[in-house]
Symmetry: C2
Subunit: 344 residues, 2 copies
């Protein structure tokens, strides 16, 4: 079992899950009379969505005028950490669902797409990754995927919110299995501060599995953070960060690309994939490398040995393969135009 | 302006649009007290969704337990044709939206992805397409895209529901502009019957822009229809059919692939793309060719001449490019496994 160090302030213990049935107006978080209002607090953090009785609806100023809803069978957990509202529910058709501040983070049915792509896009783009840092990703799904690379010797994870880790271990064992790896060290704390303290050139790869840039993850989309990432990477090291939706957030993506272009002197690329329960059905990734041995992200150089005990125990990949790796870098005309302009 | 022939039964004239504001319980189609029930009629046709006040929600037994919702500014049209319920509304953030039997067919914001991909995937895969048949696609968006290929001399379209054509011409001029092309002939009637009457080997390409296989489009997913398509195509001709979502409908896709494999003796391929307002955020296409000159769908052989008057007038492509053409054939592991097994 992985060692656990606590570098940030968190003393919230896991609350007893509420196992009551959702049957109309009684369960406050996933029911309500109308979803008309966007329950934003003053600082723009989306609150728990109000919804149609018996359904959870994802409403946010990040995607105004639309909402994806899932039918709720049962609320399994509701809590408030130092950082965000945390909820888990059993959905009718997407398995269990993890929600932070009213936004779906993962469902059992489609988590494979996000976890596999955000992990294997960077790790398959360099030969023999050994030291990997994950920022965010407290659910453990990225750890599970990093572990598939048999060259990896050390996996550090810095997650700000211990409640996310605890909730994942209790309700998402097939995701939190990522923690059951002796190579993993969990650091509970602020990823920005953690990275600043990392000695220069420590990691082969950094994966930033963040929530949206409204709320606790805001700094993870800003230039000083990218500078810390670049510093923590070896020459020719790689970073992959969650980078929003080409359909919804081209203005955010434009800024991220411009920032990365200034900071990462190797290559700067945008890739994307399908995740049905994310807004607009897609999510993107920034893939950058530091100056040093060149990295051609579009053509993977290492593959996952499916015959290791680790991979046999976890079963085959559900989503990633080398073809979809390369395809992920092909952008629709409207996005290519903007990103290519910023990347030059 | 295109000639119009009527081969089917339709005498419904366009109803006067309802321009009342949506403000709660007064507008029946897009409001209601709860979306709990899936308003299916006995034959499985989904009815108009009931929703949260002021929002339209897409509920169907085709995607149980989930619903995508758009905020409604104004209902512009509601009608009932011989075949289906037809609705147009102005959404808050996706432009105008066309809904058939409670299912979103297109929004102004993301229609480019579907129309461009279903058209240019087949037409760019063969040299100099001349005669093209569109089945369904009454909104005219596919016609608009077919017209971009300057080699095309004849475009026939067979749409069963005249109300769809009329509504599109009234509310979606940038889509229905496809009809303003002297190469286009509109046939109002049953696509199945129309194809049976087509002399063998008539077309270079057939595009089947259908709704889901519940309702009027059901026969367009069955083997006799594919046989008629194969017959209507010249040797080495191509067909592209709407083929549902890999996330939601692998069982339907499996059957379609197996059917096509029996009937199309050239090549049989599955491609897919992102469309945010379609269920699960993706839509797939079956691309098949008849026996004859071989067609390598994954590598486009013809490109669109952007300097023609036609293309200058319609502006640049928003979504399609040769890279995304090739990428569309790369499938996630879970889908590749099923489709490759059926395709052999």
């Amino acid at each position: 079992m992985a060692e656990e160090t606590v570098t940030g302030s968190t003393d919230l213990s896991l609350k007893r899950p509420r196992e009551e049935e959702v049957n109309g107006a009684s369960a406050t978080a996933v029911t309500g009379e109308a979803m008309e209002t966007e329950n934003s607090t003053d600082n723009g953090t989306p609150g728990i969505s109000s919804v149609i009785p018996g359904w959870f609806s994802e409403i946010s100023p990040m995607w105004p005028g639309e909402a994806h809803s899932l039918k709720v069978e049962k609320i399994l957990f509701q809590g408030k950490s130092d950082y965000q509202d945390v909820m888990v529910f059993q959905s009718a058709t997407y398995g269990k669902v993890l929600v932070l501040d009213g936004v779906i983070q993962l469902t059992e049915r489609d988590e494979c797409a996000y976890q596999e792509m955000i992990t294997h896009l960077p790790l398959s783009s360099i030969p023999n990754p050994k030291k990997v840092l994950v920022i965010g990703g407290g659910d453990g799904g990225v750890l599970r995927e990093v572990g598939r690379h048999s060259s990896v010797e050390q996996i550090d994870i810095c997650e700000i919110d211990k409640m996310v880790v605890d909730v994942s271990k209790q309700f998402f064992p097939e995701v939190a299995i990522g923690y059951e790896d002796p190579r993993v060290t969990l650091h509970i704390g602020d990823g920005v501060a953690f990275l600043k303290a990392v000695p220069k050139g420590t990691y082969d790869a950094v994966i930033v599995d963040s929530s949206d840039p409204i709320g606790p993850a805001q700094e993870l989309f800003e230039k000083p953070f990218f500078q810390s990432v670049a510093n923590a990477l070896r020459p020719g090291g790689v970073v992959c960060t969650q980078a929003e939706s080409i359909w919804l957030h081209m203005h955010i993506i434009e800024d991220i690309v411009a920032n990365c272009r200034q900071i990462f002197k190797g290559s700067v690329n945008y890739a994307w994939t399908t995740v049905p329960t994310y807004p607009s059905g897609v999510i993107g990734f920034m893939l950058c490398s530091t100056e040093g041995p060149s990295v051609d992200f579009k053509n993977p150089v290492s593959s996952i040995d499916t015959n290791t005990d680790y991979n046999k125990a976890r079963g085959p990949l559900k989503f990633y393969n080398p073809e979809i790796h390369t395809a992920a870098f092909c952008l629709p005309a409207f996005a290519k135009k903007v990103i290519d302009a910023k990347a030059k």
